[in-house]
């Protein structure tokens, strides 16, 4: 039960930070999401993102910043296993589910739904 509470709080706070970036610093949504992904990658490299996921669960793994963390995580795992080339082979290792699902279901959506207007 506690996990749901922290997922709500942490997930909500990340969205508030993004909303502030959009409203006060006048960034476009694309700039905001890109910034968060880069921040997630840096936090992942420092090893600070995993503890947040441990603590807040989906509150940290559902926002887009976890995408950056997962990219670093996959690249690091493979790099430790098979050397420097592992960065190239492992970078999509963890995020494969999200990207593939977005492509596959996005394409299915385009097959089924007709554009409006």
């Amino acid at each position: 039960m506690e996990k749901f509470f922290w997922a709500f709080i942490v997930g909500g706070l990340i969205c508030v930070v993004a909303q502030i970036m959009m409203d006060i610093f006048k960034l476009t949504p694309a700039h905001t999401t890109s910034t968060l992904v880069v921040v997630g990658a840096i936090l992942g490299g420092l090893g600070w993102y995993e503890p947040i996921i441990k603590f807040a669960g989906a509150g940290a793994s559902v926002p887009i910043s976890s995408f950056g963390n997962s990219l670093v995580k996959g690249a690091l795992e493979e790099a430790n296993k098979s050397g420097i080339i592992g960065i190239l082979t492992g970078i999509f290792h963890v995020t494969s589910a999200g990207i593939s699902a977005a492509i596959i279901f996005g394409f299915m959506g385009a097959l089924i739904f007709k554009p409006k207007g």
């Binding site: 996990k3 909500g12 508030v16 990219l71 394409f107």
Partner: protein, 159 residues
């Protein structure tokens, strides 16, 4: 209308109105942040519920349950985008719907559906990542730099 109303007020009252207006906190930013917090938090809580269900009933572990959770959220988002519901929620919730992985799925799905009229290869295929591409490009490049730095530090004996 408002200037007509103002004319009926005494000078002191007019002064007060101007004074109050200048001191009014900007409601839009606060309100937007509240909406983003509420909706973003709810999406994450829903993700947590899905994750719990996958762990409990489908034998996923805490580490592997993230994949089916993300996939489920993406399927739901594509359906909501197709039916035109997601855009309505997004208009109200702002960053609350953009930042969770559902926002990523929404940009892919909406770009695919929107460009369908230009054909399936030139329209859907090449425009699918029109909006989501920046996230992948910056994510991958920054992850590459971060990992390279980290691997180099490890190779040099670590800190």
């Amino acid at each position: 209308m408002s200037s007509k109303k103002n004319k009926k007020l005494t000078p002191t009252q007019q002064k007060y109105q101007a004074f109050a207006k200048a001191r009014e906190p900007k409601p839009s930013v606060l309100k937007n942040c509240f909406k983003a917090f509420l909706v973003g938090g709810l999406i994450c809580t829903f993700g947590q519920v899905l994750q719990m269900l996958y762990i409990k009933y489908f034998n996923f572990t805490e580490d592997t349950a993230g994949d089916p959770t993300v996939a489920t959220l993406i399927i739901i988002t594509v359906l909501l985008t197709g039916f035109g519901v997601y855009d309505h929620i997004a208009q109200w919730a702002g960053a609350g719907t953009i930042i969770p992985v559902t926002g990523f799925a929404n940009t892919v799905a909406s770009a695919s559906i929107e460009h369908r009229s230009e054909g399936f290869v030139l329209g859907v295929g090449s425009n699918m990542f029109k909006l989501a591409g920046s996230v992948i490009a910056y994510g991958v490049f920054s992850a590459f730099v971060v990992t390279l730095i980290k691997v180099t530090i490890q190779a040099l004996g670590g800190i």
